[in-house]
Subunit: 472 residues, 2 copies
């Protein structure tokens, strides 16, 4: 890309460090190389951008103090969670202070009576899932990284996951937030009840704001009863187009599984034999999961779904007979990303969404584009809601211009089909220059001004989401 973003002036860094040392314990402020290197990257392909210091506030007051100190000294500051994001949202592009919320990692309460939980932002998503399931409750959002990612990060990015098809995404579960604004002011927004419409929906605005409007220091989520039965199946198809058409047909027939995960031919070959053996002749597959409280109803639903898939060319439907078979199917799904990474030295993972009726078309066009440009394109993901993780595999830096061209074409095509450039990963740094493919200049300008309304100094997580302004 272009020149690296300008870094904050060292004198300012020295002064903010001095100020922060008066409010944080020594172990809460790190400047060692290991820390700076660790907080310089995430799971995106957005490069390495080290902060000048990393701080670990332990409570809301300290978060507020850190924000205020950065404002006073004019130092950019960037919040982060587990750094498992895929759009560079937590990268401190201009240096300055990385504000890690990972010490604020307590589940504060779980209420089976109210069907709510209150957590700190550093709680790992999987830990919350397990804790609520232990009392018969369910927190549905399941980003693929749920074993490591944090709820604060999920809130910042409005994280999705396979179960979003039936259950929605993070913003559908967050009902209240304690929120530190860019100037360090602390507000409580939202509520503790399931419903409520008092005032503007700032929870809705803050969830998915990618760490640019402030940071959550306490998160109240609603829960639902844990479905008593879950059935998982693998449906095998001769080709990805057969699979894509079957996904559309299943949804059109009024069946809403909790997951419909597509695996294309490239992804299937990459994972085949890695703990899971696909039947011979398999060219593509779909993992289906249905849930509910009545086993018979679910079996009937799965059987109807199998019939529809068969009529669309499916060659086999394998129903997991127990928890271990089920886990094997999901392990195959989870291994796709690393398995693809092993195929070629480099991989860019995209996160497009098209209207569901366009799934077969977009897959076909992506394959054709890959063939034309001589790049390997693998497509998998949450096909049920049109959210596809289209991956471009490539050999090295010499192919990067070609990859950038492929990326641009992919996003243009997505928008042409009525889609969006990001379904759950966020715009962050990785896609800011593509936002204008999807959004009008007036809308981008409105959002820029909204960012300035909340953060007039522009010091919170700068150079994210919106395209760089041309210098005149």
């Amino acid at each position: 890309m272009s020149a690296p973003p300008p870094r904050v002036e060292p004198g300012r860094v020295a002064r903010v460090r001095e100020a922060l040392a008066t409010v944080l314990a020594p172990e809460q402020l790190r400047v060692d190389d290991a820390a700076l290197a660790a907080y310089a990257r995430d799971e995106s392909d957005s490069g390495v951008h080290a902060p000048d210091l990393v701080v670990f506030p332990a409570d809301t007051r300290q978060v507020s103090q850190v924000f205020k100190a950065c404002a006073v000294h004019g130092v950019p500051f960037t919040p982060c969670g587990a750094r498992s994001g895929k759009s560079g949202g937590s990268l401190p592009l201009h240096g300055g202070v990385a504000v890690s919320l990972e010490r604020m990692n307590r589940i504060l309460s779980i209420s089976p009576e109210d069907l709510t939980a209150v957590v700190q932002p550093g709680v790992i998503t999987g830990d919350l899932m397990k804790a609520v399931e232990a009392v018969g409750l369910f927190y549905p959002p399941d980003p693929n990284s749920w074993e490591v990612c944090t709820l604060g990060g999920n809130v910042a990015e409005n994280a999705g996951g396979p179960r979003a098809l039936k259950y929605g995404v993070t913003r559908d579960y967050v009902i209240g937030l304690e929120w530190v604004l860019p100037d360090g002011e602390v507000v409580r927004v939202g509520r503790r009840t399931i419903k409520g419409v008092a005032g503007y929906d700032l929870v809705g605005l803050f969830v998915g704001s990618e760490g640019t409007l402030g940071v959550a220091t306490e998160i109240t989520v609603q829960l639902i009863p844990l479905p008593r039965e879950v059935l998982t199946a693998l449906v095998v198809f001769p080709s990805v187009l057969h699979a894509a058409r079957a996904v559309s047909a299943v949804l059109a027939a009024g069946i809403l599984p909790r997951c419909l995960e597509l695996i294309d031919d490239v992804a299937l070959r990459a994972v085949n034999g890695r703990g899971f053996q696909f039947p011979p002749g398999a060219g593509s597959a779909v993992i289906v999961e249905v849930d509910g409280n009545g086993r018979e109803g679910l079996l009937a639903e799965l059987s109807q779904l199998g019939d529809i898939c068969t009529s669309q060319g499916a060659t086999e439907t394998l129903v997991a007979q127990d928890a271990s078979q089920r886990e094997k199917l999901w392990a195959a799904r989870r291994v796709i990303s690393p398995a693809l990474r092993a195929l070629k030295p480099h991989k860019i993972s995209e996160d497009i969404v098209v209207p569901r009726s366009k799934i077969p078309e977009v897959i076909e066009r992506l394959k054709a584009m890959g063939a034309e440009l001589g790049l390997t394109v693998a497509t998998y993901g949450h096909a049920g809601d049109g959210n596809l993780h289209a991956n471009i595999l490539y050999e090295g830096a010499h192919q990067r211009p070609l990859v950038d061209e492929a990326l641009r074409r992919m996003l243009v095509m997505t928008v042409e089909l009525g889609g969006t450039i990001t379904g759950e990963h966020g715009v962050g740094h990785a896609k800011r220059e593509y936002l204008s493919l999807e959004q009008s200049p007036a809308l981008i300008d409105l959002q820029r001004r909204l960012k300035a309304f909340f953060d007039p100094s522009g010091l919170l997580n700068p150079s994210k989401i919106f395209p760089a302004l041309m210098r005149s």
Copy 2:
């Protein structure tokens, strides 16, 4: 209350009328007494506030032109739909222009493949429900006024309804908006896909903004497959406390019906015999509705639910055997409001929400408060999500101070219990002076500034949501 809000200066009205006459056809601009009277009220108890003129734009461009003309001439303007709101949100408090969206009433598309629909704001909610159900799809939000209210109004108020318990509210279904900002600028926000996180969630911010941040001129909603089976039952209890405890117990047992509607003793007596006869000795009742695709699973769920209710003291569970019995139950629910109105000359309907575990406590305290003040309090509504419509019945204006005191106590109590002052009706004009019971001065100030960000002139729907500022 206090003095009526000051009205806009007549010279300005004359000038805006002249300007609007150049962009609207004669029948789109009304100043006759009948029109002014009809647009002076809604379904709240917020009085009569006539506009100076009523306009009926036919498309987005005209809405934009109306907004711009009002800005140029400094005339307040207030959008409205079916005027079925319960918080005075569409009342033109200072006169000026009432902007009715009722002519923009076309369903633009329904896509069974994408599971989406696109509508204009004047479409009646019930018309959309029926149109999508005809093709096997489901639009769940069901405000009680669905036969007359419009989707534009639902978007403005973030309308709920009985099915919100399982399916959520309007904002859970709106994915994209064409939106006219207060200065007349038109933006498209959101998307046409089910998932998407590009940029700030302005859809989330605009839905529920009560006509103070702009108006929707096109609404894209997501749909879900229509559940194939619905079972409805009436569970009868000796007292409202028994019923409230049963509601809590059902949810705690992991059952999530689509509706759990409570009818207390006062409401039950009011509707008894009006097309529906409750069993002798009934002191309270709950209407239960479960839905899904498998009849057997639903019957099992209803049976388990019945057992839980019995263990909480229920004396009878009557399952509707056909559509006509089912409709009778819902007709009894819908007649509660008019039946209560018939008991006493005046009625104030509240819309509180408490955490679900507090439902029995809030009902008990409301009854005690009514007894103490000598007022009749009827409580019914969406008990499953803690959203209760608590009604105060009274004789006339002489009791109004007492009613205001009861109202204040009710809202204080609700907030004390962790609840919110409005679950689905909005703050509007009716509850603006109570917002500070629930929200901090800092949060209210932030929202006031956000309103000023979008509407610096303050001409769009003035004096709503936020408390009147004290003059210094």
